[in-house]
Assembly symmetry: C2
Homo-oligomer: 230 residues x 2
Amino acid sequence: MSSHSHHTIRQAILDRIQTGEWALGELIPGEAMLADEYGCARTTINRALQGLANDGVVIRKRKGGTRVCDMPVRQAKFNIPVVREQVEALGSVYRHQVTRRVEKAPPTAVQKRLGLAPGTKSLQLDTVHLADDRPFAFETRWVNTRAVPAILDAPLDEISANEWLVQTVPFSSGDVVFCAVNAGKDVAEALGAREGAAVFVIDRTTSLAGEFITTMQLYYREGYQLHSQL
Amino acid sequence: MSSHSHHTIRQAILDRIQTGEWALGELIPGEAMLADEYGCARTTINRALQGLANDGVVIRKRKGGTRVCDMPVRQAKFNIPVVREQVEALGSVYRHQVTRRVEKAPPTAVQKRLGLAPGTKSLQLDTVHLADDRPFAFETRWVNTRAVPAILDAPLDEISANEWLVQTVPFSSGDVVFCAVNAGKDVAEALGAREGAAVFVIDRTTSLAGEFITTMQLYYREGYQLHSQL
DNA sequence: TTCGATATGTTGTATGCACATAATAATCTT
DNA sequence: AAGATTATTATGTGCATACAACATATCGAA
């Protein structure tokens, strides 16, 4: 009874949920009751329950009380790392090669995504990421030079566009899409894979303060796996 | 400043980080100083910073202070829904078909994953998930019948194994792997796709209280995208 | 009776104080 | 100079109090 940290209580409550003491969608006792049961202040219970709510284990509503989440959806958190770190984590030597670098008006799909006026030029960058000089991933990217003009002067042979952006425009928000596609001719060539191979794609568009910064597709070589606990 | 203080302050601090006031990996002022600056109690600042720490924006260490996270990794949260909900969210009618249901000793790879003794029988289930009677996803699964014997009596024609498990063994933990593979003959057939098509795979193994429950591969039909904010 | 406004109580939310704890820096001891 | 001890200074935690929102009950007028 004395291990009163909200962490401990949180775990205890989680256990009780997991053992089925409170069924899916069922109301669990109020904070006051739990506080009494655990011999702690209501606030401490509150913290525990809020934590569980953050993790999507319970849903809380004023006056409605706290109930076990009946959502059958599970949340998984992923770390989306910088490619170089992925490579180096595998014990390989990282290198990258910029295979294209042009400024021009992007296709309308990209133009829309970046919220650009028609005809506005952007920077197109294609990069091959190498692990021990073998292709690891192929990246094709458009950067909104209005938002980040400094990238035109960045030494992109030394630092990858991704890393430069992360360091320059940190904590941008955005969205990510994961999907699988058959490698087209260009991707297959860049990755040294056969055409039609199943490649894992991360498609990311990032923005900061309402302004779109960059949009990118990252094609991983065959067999790549994105792993996560849940 | 009314009630939402710590949320407000949290956002304010995030803004200051995003505008580059404090650089990557750099120390930000201590709680006391910020409390003074914002005219609130230290605890309120603490809450704000803890929130940011939860989101991986800052790292906090006792005595070491709080610093902007220098990890270039970004966290993305995904909801991994039940297939039926995905289908119905698209406005289609969901149906599923169990194409295989046998009890036998699994291959060693599965045996290992489920932590079974050699020769232990398990339940193998193959299911095709249909959207408007068109194949949407193909699921192949092994269930540890030691852990969940009740599944042998479950009406798996009415309720999918996935849903049955979610309702029966909620909040199990486990891990997930996403990857892309070329459809083999069996998968292609089940999905009505061509052999070699790039399919998105979710590979999940779940456990509860140290006991493995089930392992599953879910093959989505071509073009499937997993979407997330970050 | 019926409808609607208002009172009321239950439950989650927010804040600030006092104290605990951890990690480092400074100091003392040998 | 090396090791042990104490001081300092950060963040972490528990608790009490005040607050706000929501559901329901209650009351009064048409």
